[in-house]
Structures are given as structure tokens and as C-alpha cells.
Amino acid sequence: MGDKQSGVHAKYDYIHDQESSPSPLDAHHVEVRRSGAKPVAACFFAALVSAYAFFAFYSKEKPNILAVWGIPLGALLMMKLCWRTVKKESVLIMPTFGVQLETHYRSGRIIRRFVPMGKILKPVLQECVTPVTCYWCLSLLLRDEEQLMLVFKEIRSPLKMLIPIWKALCAAADEGGGLEECGPDG
């Protein structure tokens, strides 16, 4: 069963699944709403590059041999855009065990990263600044690691969606960290 929250943002949907049996699993999903404009524009651009390369190569006036590279370039561009288009990113919290971070692409590819609960020092919400924009992101402070681990690698979801995920991660990390601190003697 899920608790779907949509309409919070024009681009994303937030889904919260909480199962209590057979084992408790707290799943948070952020799905990218399908936009027709971007893939159409990308395909159009890739087709344009390929067409220009084809025309330049086969032109009777002055055939441009180097333009043949435009055809695979256009194909690569189309493949990259389709391959790299993200469908959703998920955070699966298994209390006392760990957190699994998943990135699902439209091509069907899924990248999974597992972080043991004892490894997580603290989940943090932080603002990232680039030369052209600024956005919120959710990261994990890991024990004995200098680098933060981004929870959502590809998606820049809004703060309102990140807050419940952050709270769930904090609760799980506090619980899991408490058990870890007990040590082998109890």
C-alpha cells in the first residue's frame, strides 16, 4: 500500500510505502513526471545532426568526409538521453539493517547502493550552490568517510519532499546507531 502525494511539485511525485509485515520496510519514492517535450526535442535535435551529417557527406558539390562522424554522434546523443533519463529514485529503509538507495532509469537500468545502518552518522539536508543555481539536497554523513553520500544522485526534488525522508532516515539512524553502540557485550 502506498500513500501517494502528488501536486506538491510540477515535476515530481512523492510516494511513501510503509510495510509492517513480514519485515518492516519504509520505502520513499520520488518519481519524475513524464514530460513529452524533452525527449521529443532531444530526438529532433539528434535527427537534425544526423541529417546534416548525411547531407554533408553525400553532397555532390563538396562532400565532407569528416561529417560522417555526425551520424554516430547523433545516435550517441539520442542513446545517452534515453539511457540517462531517470524514471524514479527510491530510498528503502530497513530498520537496524541499512538503507538501500535506488536509481531507476527509463531504459530499465537500476543502480542500487546499500549503506549499513551502523555506517550512517547523520542524514543532513543541505543547500548546494552551483554557478547558476541553488537547490536542496539530502545527504548522508558516513562514519570514517570524508565525502557525503547523496541520497538522490540525479533528481533535485523540492525540500517539502525531502523533509519526510530526512526525518525517517534520522529516526532509523538514531535507532540503528543506539543498537550499534551497545557493542558485543550487550
Partner: protein
């Protein structure tokens, strides 16, 4: 109090912490005092080395270190329109009501003010330095300033001399320019607990050792003073290209035991160096204000300074001995200062400085400028373009073209990323207990005030 209005200010400059200087201190202390008055202040500057992103300083002062690397003398590369997306983003997400730029030499400041005016925000500009009129660099800088200030809501200068200089350079109406002097943190700069012995007189110099700060004058003055007054020794703090000349002077006149060169002095150590001396020597060739002599006076030192720029406006006559920027006159002034030393009471001097200069007073006066700026009428692009046209026959048209292109870029940005897609940042309220930091909406904060 009924008319009190909470401002949300964006301070913009290329010069901020972790650098230390007059402009940096001004922005920091002013921001802290404005936060105390209940306003929201956000600072925007460029990244320094590894310091990039968002940082929070004392009092919840939020600083955006934009990852645009400095390219020349700590200034961001001027791109005209490159900073428009990030500035628009920050203005919307922080719900800024007013943009306050600092320093004419800051490219980030000029770009931020230009973009803020395009987007309809009120802007205030503070000029911290004096500039010339004759050399190529000054001519170009003055033209840029004329462009920026053509449409500014209000301007602030740190001295009356600076106001005159700014008005002449930028053709700004004098009625738009306020004079609000800098101040000094008298809690940090306190005199030595015990008065120094007067059998040996120590003269302290702390400045960047560059031409503009009169390092060449020191090369002439120090040997002459050491010759005339065997009981005098110098402590020179600071670094720069002219340090070599001072080292050579020391070797040439065998003054190694009478002239101590400290090198670069961290800001946190400035007070400890000052209180080891009786007299503070400032040899600047140009100064809009000179915070250094305020710091020295707050530590109880008698000041000897060149009579340049806004320096005569800073200290009362009994706390400073002024001289022309000439070695002979400076030696005369030092001689006069040595004679005046027995009459100087450092604690009394510090107490007077506390009353004369206070950053809270600067913040209250700046608040009035902000209120005035926000009362200025809103103007559309066409009305504003007429102000730029008056900047010159060719320059005016060029400025208009720049502003039209900026406006078009802004319209394009609004299409690509509507303001509704930029989520606003909740205000962070700091309590005294460190763990009780919470997020508040602006409405909650208003009602609690």
C-alpha cells in the same frame, strides 16, 4: 516602532570573510548589527579556495560563496550576464526586498546591482574608496560606476570627502548620497591593562606594504626619525611588494635592532601588536576613511597620519597629528606626537571612542537609508533607460543596450524557470541553546517580534 519594517537584505561584494580588510569588516559588523535589529541579512560573495556553497556565521548570518573563481585582485570575472541566473535564484529563494552592494571595485557588486534593478528590486550602494579622474584605470572605473549608479535607489559613502568624490565620478545627485562613517569594534580593540613605560617610545605601523598605503614614505621617514630620536623604535606589521624596500632601508641604515618587521599580521593579532606601541603611524596616500586609525585610537595610541582623503574627518584633533604626505612634514608630526605623549590617557581615549563610533549606530542609520530606498517609486524599463542615455553620447547608448539585453535574458529565464519553481527557503531562527535551532516561516517570526 509603528513604522518599523523588517527588511530582507542581500549584501553583495567580492570582498568578504575569510579575507580581512575595511570592506570585509564593514559588511560583517553591519550585517551582525542589522540582524540584532531584527532584519534578515544574507551575504553573497565569490568562493575562496575550498570555501564554496552556503555557510552560516555568527548570529545566523547566511553567506553564499558562489563558485565563481576570482580572476584579478579578488574580483569575479565580469561576464555581464553570467551571474543573472544565480542572483535571480537567491533573490527569489531568500525573499529579498533590497540589495546592498559594496565597493566600486567589485565586479560582482556591479553585476548584482544591474540584475537587481532589471528585476525591479531596490538597490543601495556603498562606496568605500576614493578614486582618481585622470588615469586610464580610473576613467574606466568611473564610467562603470556611472552606469551602476545611474539607476541606484540610494548611495552611502563613508566620509564627506568620499561623498564628494563619488558624486563627481558618477554624476549622482548629491541628495541621493548619505554619509555614514565606519565604526570600530571597541570591545575587541581595548588598551593594554597597564600603561607602557615611556623611556622607550614605540611607533607601530600596520598596513599593506603597497604604494597606495605610502610604504615609500616610510622608507624616508623611519631612518630620519631614528636619527633624531635615539629612544624611538618601530614595529612594522604587514606585507606587500614594498616590503623589500623597507628591508633594504633597514640594512642600509643598520636599524635591525630598532625596526622590527613582523610580516603579515593576522587580524586576530592586530590588537596585541597595537598595544605594544605608543604611537600609530599611517602614511596612506589616499583613504576614504581609514578604519586602522580608529582601531589604533580605540587601543589608546596617539595617531600620526597623512592628511589625505577622509582622514581629517575621522578623529578629534587631540587624538591625531596630521601631516602632508611628505617625509619632512611627517617627521615634524612625529616630533609633535612624541611631545604630546605624556598627556595621552589610553583608557580615556578608548572610552571616548566607544561613544563616538558604534556599529549599532551605523546599522540604525543604514536602516533609515533602506527605508528611504524602499519608498522610491517603481519604474518600468523605458523610464529607467532614459537615465542611462544621459551617461554619455556613446556610453549612454551602450548602457541602454546592455540593460535591454539583460531584460531579455531575464524574460527568457522566467520562461525556462518560473519563479514558482524556485522554492523559498524557510527562515532559520537561532536560539541561545545550540540544539534548539528551528525553521520558522516569516509570518511566525513577525508575530513573535
Amino acid at each position: 516602532m509603528a513604522d518599523w519594517r523588517r527588511h530582507r537584505i542581500l549584501m553583495v561584494s567580492d570582498f568578504f570573510y575569510p579575507n580581512f580588510g575595511g570592506v570585509e569588516s564593514h559588511i560583517y559588523y553591519l550585517s551582525q548589527c542589522l540582524l540584532e535589529l531584527g532584519h534578515k541579512v544574507v551575504v553573497m560573495t565569490h568562493a575562496y579556495a575550498n570555501r564554496s556553497g552556503v555557510r552560516y556565521m555568527t548570529g545566523g548570518l547566511k553567506v553564499y560563496y558562489i563558485p565563481w573563481k576570482p580572476f584579478l585582485m579578488q574580483n569575479t570575472l565580469p561576464t555581464f550576464y553570467g551571474t543573472l541566473p544565480i542572483i535571480r535564484n537567491i533573490l527569489i529563494r531568500e525573499k529579498i526586498s533590497l540589495v546592498h552592494g559594496h565597493q566600486a571595485f567589485s565586479t560582482l557588486c556591479h553585476e548584482a546591482l544591474m540584475h537587481a534593478r532589471t528585476m525591479g528590486y531596490k538597490v543601495v550602494f556603498t562606496d568605500h574608496s576614493l578614486y582618481g579622474f585622470a588615469d586610464i584605470g580610473s576613467i574606466h572605473m568611473n564610467k562603470v560606476l556611472q552606469f551602476t549608479l545611474a539607476d541606484v535607489s540610494q548611495a552611502i559613502c563613508v566620509s564627506h570627502t568620499s561623498k564628494e568624490n563619488t558624486v563627481l565620478r558618477s554624476s549622482l545627485p548629491p541628495a541621493k548620497v548619505f554619509v555614514i562613517p565606519n565604526a570600530v569594534d571597541t570591545a575587541m580593540f581595548t588598551p593594554a591593562p597597564e600603561r607602557l613605560k615611556s623611556d622607550e617610545i614605540v611607533i607601530v605601523v600596520i598596513s599593506r606594504l603597497v604604494y597606495r598605503k605610502g610604504a615609500d614614505l616610510l622608507v624616508e621617514v623611519i631612518p630620519e626619525v631614528c636619527r633624531l630620536f635615539p629612544q624611538v623604535r618601530f614595529i612594522v606589521g604587514g606585507d606587500g611588494p614594498k616590503r623589500v624596500r623597507l628591508e633594504e632601508m633597514r640594512e642600509k641604515h643598520s636599524l635591525q635592532d630598532r625596526v622590527e618587521m613582523l610580516g603579515a599580521v593576522p587580524h586576530a593579532r592586530v590588537r596585541s601588536v597595537l598595544i605594544s606601541g605608543h604611537i600609530f603611524l599611517n602614511s596612506s596616500l589616499t583613504e576614504a576613511f581609514c578604519i586602522a586609525i580608529l582601531e589604533a585610537a580605540s587601543c589608546g595610541l596617539l595617531t600620526v597620519s597623512t592628511r589625505v582623503g577622509g582622514v581629517p574627518e575621522v578623529l578629534p584633533d587631540d587624538m591625531v597629528v596630521l601631516a602632508e604626505p611628505d617625509p619632512v612634514d611627517m617627521v615634524r608630526a612625529i616630533k609633535k606626537a612624541i611631545a604630546l605623549l605624556p598627556r595621552i590617557d589610553p583608557q580615556e581615549m578608548h572610552a571616548r571612542m566607544k561613544k563616538l563610533y558604534d556599529w549599532r549606530d551605523v546599522a540604525r542609520r543604514t536602516e533609515i537609508v533602506y527605508d528611504r530606498a524602499l519608498k522610491c517609486s517603481n519604474q518600468n524599463l523605458l523610464d529607467r533607460l532614459s537615465r542611462y542615455l544621459s551617461c554619455g553620447s556613446w556610453a549612454g547608448k551602450l548602457f541602454c543596450l546592455v540593460m535591454i539585453i539583460d531584460f531579455l535574458f531575464w524574460c527568457l529565464l522566467k520562461l525556462l524557470q518560473p519563479a514558482a519553481d524556485i522554492e523559498e527557503v524557510p527562515d532559520m531562527v537561532q536560539f541561545h541553546h545550540q540544539d534548539e535551532e528551528i525553521l520558522m516561516d516569516d509570518s511566525q517570526h513577525q508575530s513573535s517580534r
